[in-house]
Amino acid sequence: MTDPLSPLDRPNSYIGRTVPRPNLERLVEGRGTYVSDMTLPRMGHVVFVRSPYAHARILEIDTSVAKQAAGVIAVVTGAELVEQCSPWVGVLSHLKGLKSAPQHAMAVDRVCWQGEAVCAVVANSRAQAEDAAEQVQVRYEELEPVTDMRTALEPHIPVIHPELGDNLAFERSLDAGEVDKAFAEADAVAEAEFVFGRHTGVTLEARAVLADWNPGERRLTVYQGTQAPHMMQNIFAKHLALEEAQVRVVCKDVGGSFGIKVHVYADEMATAALSKRLKRPVKFVADRIESFVTDIHARDHVCKGRIAVKQDGTITAFAIDDLTGIGPYSMYPRTSAIEANQVVNLVGGPYQARNYRARARVVFQNKNVMCQYRAVGHPIACSVTEGLVDLAARAIGMDPLVIRSKNLIRDDAYPTDSPSGLKFEALSHHASLAKLKQMMDYDGLRAEQKRLRQQGIYRGIGIASFIEVTNPSAAFYGVGGARISSQDGVSVRMDATGAIIVQTSLTEQGQGSEALTAQVVASALGVALEKVRVILGDTDNTPYGGGTWASRGAGIGGEAAWQAGKALRMNILKVAGTILQTVPELLDIDQGVVVDKATGRERIGLDEVARITYFRPDTLPADFQAELLATRHYVPRQYPFAFTNGIQASWLEVDTETGFVTLLNHWCVEDCGTIINPQLVDEQIRGGVVQGLGAALFEHCRYDERGQLTNGTMADYLVPMASEMPDIEVGHVVSPTLESELGAKGAGEAGTAGAAAAVANAVNDALDPFDVTITEIPLTPSVILKALGQRSG
């Protein structure tokens, strides 16, 4: 017996097919439209004078010399720009107790991190603005910086925002089941302190914004590399004292985002405010140094973890105490408490243990702001959970795969939930584990590992199971009062030649939103992909919606596209039925031709339907009006999040004399439900894995004790590069969400979620004969040599 056809099994379906992205040629031929490249008439370039101190009072800003410099249009201090731009506070009401202080577009009387802007210089060119910026004289009184998050709450440490009372931004505790009893009755308890370095997203194109206030129509048009144009429209209007209808945000091609470009940056707000103040276009493009000191940083956690296990391998409890430092302000409007909150939500998530205690504390410090970056909280939760599971396995002498298969939630246990209250619709931990074991030839690698150890070659296998939050509903931000839409809208219309125009509220920063939208619409309608043109990234010209972040594009925007495509198909078939004197239910569309549903016999081309609709409506019955435009919106209602799951493995070699790690292979099996474009999904996984490997081995924003970033260049901040990356083999298990017809869940963060955990576990596995456990990333040669006690001198 064959499976019944799903709604997706349509004539000429593109669902599940690797087809080239519609924007590919344009981008590879260098014909994209990036904000960095845009110019407008009378455009000024803004350069910001930034604080060299982590914490200081601004005593005086002398702009007189700078104002006289060649090409200067204006020099504006933070205090002066308050006239144009009101401050904001990055809190959400559902994150109880979260507090932060008002943040201005530029510092007004005090700077709170090295790199915070204090004064703007607008000139005819970037070079002239930089020349003049050097002439701005700022007198500071340096204040004691708060840099170490471990001591930020101690009484002798200064409070960064005295009006808040202390440096604690947010705290959350959770206690589920009988944790103390579980630990008391455990056969073995393992514990460790996991340390995660601060790192950042490093987009290929830096943040870029071009704001154009047109006094003639009293409208602000902002060309911006952002993931969420409608959110930004709201924010610009709110803080520049405009109506939302007075703001248009246009987001064309964007050179990478990874969550970096979904936040409200003070310097971008300042750029828009300057445009309004100066009544002319003003452009800001962050240079690489500015990117390192102002693009949000992420991670920077210290998390103590404990695990209780029985001798038979049953894990009975997890307990964590997480601490993270977020810089001086909670980021607006998504806040900087989400990552810690996610850590609490996600630790232990793949496992059956019902006893779980967690505390997370989020503290202020005088470092760059920290916020959501790809896989928010997941790498922390996964590294802690999987690190503890390996420690437990070691404590009872059990194989890491065996302990996981004993404890992962059973594939037939759904729907179920986690001790932290997460609702799981359908996950496939065991199918994924089985697939991984076969893909990597686990037993073969173990034999090879054993053989090589005799020769003094230390290789390790690291396993990491994970769950991933995707398709977020209003539970993420909307319920907390933020005007961040969790729904997406798609309009599909057929033009006079039968061409299809799609407008979606998703945005595209390289992940393939445009491609998946075109594939879904072409499939829903029954037309060739080439007939579909997708328009996105323009608040004037797309339906209202959330944009692209939190692995929501395919699952939410994709479903809206599917429903809109279906609606337009029915509208087209109503016209065709009228022309053909039959009922639409007996017709379908295949390859752009209306056909008899039962036989596939061709009846009328879409071009002919369009011609009649638009040019000879007189031939249609008087009581019939064709509607060749359909709009649909979608948001998940049943589950707050569509959880996905997966498992990763790393195979690597540690040079125990030098501390160098060589990645030999990496595997990821994941379950994102229905796969629309296999290649796009695989490359999302691979790209995500690479960013996780960067965190594991290389990436680290290193601050000194005065709050100075010491490695803010691409020479000193090491991003993962092709030479060091292993092959990354990707496998899939497919458990579609039944909440939508498409059944797609997100795939954007799975790779990042588990890669570092797999590497850390593999390093510890490799070093097993030396009886050391390292729970700190990045795993630099120094960290490894120190653990091995192998330093001379």
Binding site: R126, I289, E657, L718, M721, E724, S782, R791, S792, G793
Partner: protein, 288 residues
Amino acid sequence: MKAYAFDYVRAATLDEALALLERAGDGGKLVAGGQSLVPALNLRLLAPQLLIDIAHLPELRGITCDDTTIHLGAGTRHVELANSPLVAEHLPLLQMAVRHVAHAAIRNRGTLGGNLAHADPASELPACMIALEAVMLVVGPGGERRIDAADFFKGLYETALGPDEILVRISIPRSPAGARFHFNELARRAGDYAMAGLAIAMHGNSPQDMRIRPVFFGIGDRPVLARQAALCLEQAASLQDGLAAAQQALLGDLDPQDDLQADAGTRMQLAQVLLKRGLADLVAQGRG
């Protein structure tokens, strides 16, 4: 960031370049491949008034060979070193080293002379020059000077080159028959400056006539010839026999400092490992 405004002149001859350099005084800066200079300009670390482009000077071009010596024009690009049959035949150490210099795009433009004159302590080629006992031909208003590589590198980005002088040619004695070479570096990513590196030239087989020049880079403020370690090895019955003493001697030869990549202790450990592995490679070559 954008560079400060500067003037640019492409010199047609060495004499013209020298005259321009003299006239520009402190405000003049030579540029050839520009692979270190241009980033420094864009970071506003340097603010020359005049850039004098010497990339096309005929006097700086060419790789030639006579009975005793290989001559490398200072304008030789890294890619030309890598592809030169003369270098492959007579200077295998350079051929081994040059592929570790940055990335292909940088090797296509960067020049040997620029590399040496920039004197980055983590750079590969200065260490090779010391190992190979190269002689630098520099020309200034007062005429020519010849500087031994061992005296050329003075410190962090500092050389014996006068502000009005141009490095024209590097001359390297042809190695005696049976010479062996080793090159290795420990960089966290391919193309990065190394955390520690080692270039070794050795010749002679019997303990009596064996001479070895291990030169470390990325360890101190300049490439360092490990003299005491070399002595230990030259006095030992074999390389293997001398290893332990030579590793110990590195504690005196080298003076590593803490930096972002590693602390001094890690660097010393890496240097000792490099020496051990380098000697093992040389021994293997000797058997080969």
